[in-house]
Symmetry: C3
Subunit: 677 residues, 3 copies
């Protein structure tokens, strides 16, 4: 069942913390929200001490008044369960509820997310507060839905409390049944790690070389994900039971968490917190860094979870904590641009974070749309303008993003590669290269999530699948890919593909393992790029030469394999580097290396995808997105540059915001957006 947001039109919301502000300010705040065209208000998610000031003593007065007042202005409330920040009385009384470092040092009160998911006390007390809140608000007419906790696995995605070690032991028993199975899966015979009693089993702990058993570490990440989901399920089950008429979701996208499973199993739709301004401060030494435009990739992943989704926190100002995250202010137009970036990728509900900048605590520099002083400012005006525009674009809600190509993602490989210096860095580079090449060539792309339920039909939604460095590929997955290509699909792989099984152990097979038949190669030899030597190259179709950076696999070919590129500038000069094999009605590609922007661009041409050159001439700085509903393509053109960009239309479109026709040359102002049909 596809979990998607079902809004009738594009709507706006706001994150609001009534408990932070004098009660006599609420009315004015709500009135101004209403005037701005805000529909939703999220609240409650950090207020456990308000709801339960002492253990077992509950108080809903403050939020009852806050919800009622919101209702007076026609605002709909999304209520957060407050478990991201346990009360001080709780962690003091139940220290087993704290998360702990791998070295055994507990995290304490003072920030957030210092609890662990497996403490019995914490689970019990969480159940109680969620049940009390659900009982209290389940039929409140102004409360429309629930956010479980806040940003699960944010701040940290590793957990080493005693409760976690114990739960992991049980998890392992359930998964492996016998120690023989566990020892085999973890390759325990290596370095004499064989377990002879279940009480010897722990999460990874401090080792002398700071390098745990990698198969153990992979399972640990699966466990962290299952723990988080189990904890969310505890809350979701209560909400479903006690508040069956209100929807349930959670927000954020963080590490060691299978958000697809979480959403499929527990939620009505998925909500993301989008902060593209991070893109302006993150070190990025790659060619042509995408900066805030990189968030379009994140939004593509979100879309793979929930085709239509909500943004629960849309960045609306300069961001930062007192001690770190030093972001500049959005420039005039950027707040609007980022809002449309979310919409262009499938968001139908956008909630700005936050109404007014906090005057207390660690986040006094995470600015809301209002400043501390509450005077009108440029950001509020920009939200107002967006709000008015959305009235004209409401019908876009429910439409679907259009893409012919997808980049494949998979949690097993993501978690295995995180730890593996022989895959992880290559995957990061290739993803960057492919996403950039597709963006700059105006070829819309989806993220495609591969899991145990993936069917051939799912794959067949796309003309081309890119799956660069999936170390773990099972026999079943390889057969699925074979079928996909046989039936006309195109699929491309890079080096380090297919050499591991699901435990993360290499097969006793020549690379690329079970893919060998599909791609028609065996890897004859391979090498990492030596750090103080010249980088080899690839000669593509005897024409262009591009770098073969980071890793090289020399390919031995089976029959009927076409060589598209050969190595240069290496002792394996002239040997095959990049090949194509026609396979059934489709074709496979294998590159014995890490993709870079040049090579990915050359390959995109190969695939003959729609780059919409019949409709527009677009400069690189402009992103193209298309959402489709009921026979209409909604075209978004977004200018991420602070320089005006000239666009050429090769047919006449209607500018949906102005209602006017556009044709021929059109100039997008800095950070400007145009939505066409």
């Amino acid at each position: 069942m596809v979990k998607k947001l079902n809004e009738e039109k594009l709507t706006l919301g706001i994150c609001y913390y009534p408990e932070h502000w004098p009660e006599d300010m609420w009315e004015d705040d709500y009135r101004r929200m209403k005037e701005l065209g805000i529909t939703y208000v999220r609240m409650g998610e950090f207020a456990w001490s308000i709801f339960e000031p002492e253990e077992g003593k509950f108080s809903f007065d403050l939020f009852d008044r806050a919800v009622a007042k919101a209702g007076e202005f026609g605002l709909k409330v999304i209520m957060g369960t407050p478990t991201a920040t346990p009360p001080t009385w709780l962690t003091k009384k139940y220290p087993d509820s704290l998360n702990v470092t791998q070295d055994g040092i507990p995290y304490q009160h003072g920030a957030r997310r210092h609890y662990n998911y497996n403490s019995e006390n914490y689970r019990r007390l969480s159940s109680i507060i969620v049940k009390k809140m659900a009982e209290h608000y389940h039929d409140h007419p102004d409360v429309v839905g629930w956010q479980i906790d806040n940003e699960l696995n944010c701040e940290t995605d590793v957990f080493y409390s005693e409760a976690d070690h114990d739960a992991f032991r049980e998890w392992a028993k359930k998964k492996y049944h016998t120690l023989e199975n566990l020892n085999a899966a973890w390759g325990a015979v290596f370095w004499n790690q064989t377990y002879t009693s279940w009480d010897q089993v722990y999460l990874t702990r401090k080792t002398v070389p700071n390098s745990p058993n990698p198969h153990h570490a992979l399972d640990e990440k699966r466990f962290f994900s299952d723990s988080a989901i189990s904890y969310a399920k505890l809350q979701a089950d209560i909400l479903r039971e006690y508040a069956p008429k209100q929807w349930v979701t959670t927000n954020g996208m963080f590490g060691h968490l299978d958000n697809h499973k979480l959403t499929d199993d527990l939620l009505d739709f998925y909500a993301y917190d989008s902060y593209p301004n991070f893109g302006r401060i993150i070190e990025d030494h790659s060619v042509k860094p995408l900066r805030d435009r990189k968030w379009s990739w994140n939004l593509s992943v979100v879309r793979s979870i929930s085709p239509n989704f909500a943004i629960f926190e849309q960045q609306s100002g300069p961001g930062g904590w007192v001690t770190r995250i030093e972001q500049p202010s959005p420039k005039p137009g950027q707040l609007r641009l980022w809002t449309y970036q979310s919409i262009a990728h499938g968001a139908d509900m956008i909630m700005y974070f936050r109404w007014r900048t906090a005057t207390k605590g660690t986040e006094i520099y995470w600015h809301g749309i209002n400043d501390y002083h509450n005077q009108p400012n440029r950001r509020v005006k920009e939200v107002e303008a967006v709000s008015q525009e959305l009235h004209k674009l409401g019908q876009i809600a429910g439409s679907s993003y259009q893409a012919e190509i997808a980049y494949v993602t998979n949690y097993d490989n993501e978690w295995d590669a995180e730890f593996d210096k022989w895959v992880g860095p290559y995957e990061a580079k290739s993803k960057d290269a492919w996403f950039k090449a597709l963006q700059y060539n105006h070829v819309p792309v989806d993220a495609f999530h591969l899991n145990a339920e993936t069917s051939l039909e799912d794959l067949k939604s796309y003309k081309v699948l890119v799956y660069p460095h999936a170390a773990i590929i099972t026999k079943e997955q390889a057969e699925l890919f074979n079928s996909y290509v046989k039936q006309g699909g195109k699929m491309i792989f890079g080096c380090r593909s297919g050499y591991k099984d699901e435990t993360g152990q290499p097969y006793m097979k020549a690379f690329p393992g079970y893919l060998a038949d599909l791609v028609g190669v065996n890897v004859e030899e391979f090498t990492r790029e030596a750090p103080f030597e010249e980088t080899p190259g690839v000669k593509f179709k005897n024409l262009q030469e591009v770098e073969a950076n980071d890793f090289n696999e020399v390919l031995q070919l089976k029959e009927d394999v076409e060589v598209l590129g050969t190595f240069t500038n290496a002792h394996f000069e002239g040997k095959p580097a990049l090949v194509k094999r026609n396979y059934g009605q489709g074709s496979s590609y294998y590159f014995g290396g890490v993709f870079n922007l040049d090579l990915a661009s050359l390959l995109i041409d190969e695939f003959e995808l729609n780059d919409y050159q019949d409709l527009f001439d677009l400069p690189e700085q402009v992103e193209l997105s298309i959402r489709h509903k009921e026979g209409t393509d909604y075209v978004f053109l977004l200018n991420y540059s602070e320089v005006p960009q000239e666009v050429t239309f090769k047919k006449e479109f209607t500018d949906l915001i102005t209602g006017r026709p556009v044709t021929n040359k059109h100039t997008l102002k800095p950070f400007d957006v145009i939505v066409l049909a």
Copy 2:
């Protein structure tokens, strides 16, 4: 009451550790000190185990002989209380006396300053040893004064033992009386940090994102300072009671310690340890780094505590520990230069660290004036030369440093900014820029310490006050500044001024808060400099253009505000950046940015301060200092360069060292100093 050293003439001293050396060397050492013109010998400060080899068993024999022998040569002894290094028997028996990391790991025996100030056992045992020493030496004719402990808060200025957590809880109770007050001051409603019982209150502890509540953290620093002062008071009270005829001080200037309050409440005068050679190894990528000349700023701060002061440790050789601090040797002349640097800024007593380089332990590379081998060397000869010169300059003792401009310092802002990446780095840059600009323009400057007792009269000692990035400005302080300017003062502020209250929480006011009336601006919008973009500029008086680095505030002007500079190269091009407002008989200046050397230099011209161009033409490499006493200006010119510097005198002076007149051109040799009247 002003706490200043009252020496009748400029005097020299030496740090000596008799317990380190064979007793038969003492006589020769003292004789040579006497020959060098040394007056004072400091000893005893790391010798607790000598004085109390077992708990409750005391022995003064060794130091009695060491003091008596010093007395034979007419040397006066300054006795250190030995609490900076607890005996091994003490920390073994009373582990609660140890300081502990925030993570809970105790520091142990092996170096120094591993104790905490709040352990009851440590306070009790400290009281006993200090009392015993005071009883023993209070009427010794050769012991003239006491140094409490050694370098309080050196090595570390944070303390997390159980005793510290407990003492902090009591400190907070005393400050806030109720948890309601505490919760309000710490903004505890944010992230659900509300305290409901006093036993939940601790110093900051490990948090997941390694970011404690900033208001809590600010109070923690106030507590650390109060703890250190309380511990020093424990000793000072005993010394005052048992040794009333001897003076009392302590040495050093380290973090999280209100040295002004410490001195005002407890000491006779303040003593500083001056190591300018650090300036030759510290990374400094600023424009025209000051290197060792930076110590002139440190000495200015010392002067703000004690207008005439002592140097208890004046660097006299290459410095360094075995494991770190890798300093080169002073070049010929630098030891003398640094001595005069101290004197030029108000030091009337200079004690060299140390007589002879240690042959044991961590500091075998902190060289004294003598080498291990005790043979005559260049450094001893340089001290001898200085000593002879000082005979001719003795009358300078007691004279006062002259400055028309002061740079304002304040502990609340210093401690708040330490933690705040949105203020602290700007304050550091602006301080550097202003100090350099004043040095290079030969405008002497004071540090002005702003605290609760500061009066309008205090402010009126200066024509100009520079207070660049004081985030915390109270209503009362703003009113004081208003009065100062109304009565003719000039005062200049930079961005990030006045937006926080004393708890470190932003006001719900437009920036710059209570300063708005004085400076006549509201901040319309602001931004940090984006790291991968071009730096904006400021056009000053439509003439020069300088960089507007790091942070930009766009200013909205009230009436009667003169625009001195506007922004360039930004989306807010042309908007006001730097303004002046005539206010009563004085004027205020506000710059919506961080000061750099270029801008500070332009502004100094604005202020029309005495730069002594009627008296000299001085090259940038030469520092000018003037001390005044009884109608005479004592002029110090110090050449920090290893290149000769030519000075032009526009009237005739007397070189006080040679006794000869100087006029017209004069060449200062590398590292040379001239003292004129």
Copy 3:
């Protein structure tokens, strides 16, 4: 007694882990080993859980079958004692057996070497397993020798468990007898560290400035070495008793371990694990980095322990862990080159690590000669070629490396300098410079290990000794050097020589302490190089000028001292920097600085050593090694470059591999080796 390997001919071996592989693969594996010409198979060293699956329950079945099967193919087994990786049941039941960080955090199960050497339980259980294995295999015809543990002190060379603290206390009692002696040796009077009871004595612990007492720290390293040797002795004694007919050794060369004493006291010969591929990934910003050729120095040190030695792990493929150590593949020829590098330096037995790349655990990227897939590959073929060549070179076994010059090493200085930023970095730079200069000038060099047993005769084996920055030089050592030079030796020292005694405390003497007579200088003054200033120079013999980087000592000369170089570009311009003194029949040299490649090259010319220019003209990229036996010089020329290198022979040699004569010009292919007689 010289401990050397006594092989009759050059032999090959392989590291094999039968427990990792299906038993039905063994036969094929052994057959292929046999076909490759392999003689030895090492096994067992990480298999404790196989031998003792439960405490006190032993099982030899698996390895009995593995040994028997090896025997069927004529392979000889080297058995490893399995103590490098304790079983999980052991560390769970006896947590006192774990090693612990200095901060008190125990290392846990999951990697290797997480035990400590002093745990009574671990020593007891180690004794039992070693005894059981020795009893079982002592008369097995196919088991020829034992490897104790695996790579002692690899992963970490520091140990802070409670058992280590206790053992250190006993070690100190035994060494010092009284606390007075201990306090004197550790300079405890400094910073009041005096011990008054033995229970106050610990290994170094966490100090506030993270800087322990350096004399204490030096003793700690001596203790770590003694602990490791004591643990190895525990095993060696059992093996000698229960398996007297089999030889005993151990492998590796790691920190804080006196491998010379270990070998002399316990072993039959020394075995090294050689991984030159590290040289291709280690950051090396020195002039002309040696990369993999640097391993020739390591092999020289190994040779100083055991003139003929074994390589128990010779790198045979790309190397790396999952999380770190990211090595490229050896290029065609490099595996062969590195094998000959070992042989050229004295190895007579070469065991490749490992037969087949592990498919499990942390080392899945430490490739063996076979890949996971077990198909023939380039590396297997290269081993086969080497094997065939060695048949023609067998007689080289037992021959001796020839060198006229030696670089002196000494554990006291190595361990003291490790911690000392005023010596350690200089020693590292000078060693690099000298080794490079000797390599590039084709002057073979030995490492000469100086210890308490070193005799004048030992020294006299060399024409020249280079001992650049030995801070610790005792009176006895100085007298030994005097005798050596008097009898015709040449000896050269650099700055920072001779100023410390055996405790690491500076003498109360002018530098260079007891060396002053031999070298005829006192150091007048010295300085570290100041980081932001120009580097001084040395003018050598009034001709070339080279840099005088890092540290400068200005020399005062005694009589009859010849100045070879004077300083430039410093305030001590023109003063002596480098001197020579004829002393008896020999001569001494002293340089008041750190050697660089230019200076070392100039000095080598001074020494008039045999650089074999009468025999060859060799390019820099080619290493020359000569082994001698029974009147024959075996000459190795090794090309470390991937570019062909032209060699000129000035007499006719025989290429021992082809059996053909070579003369005049000869081109060494990339990574090629030629062995001549």
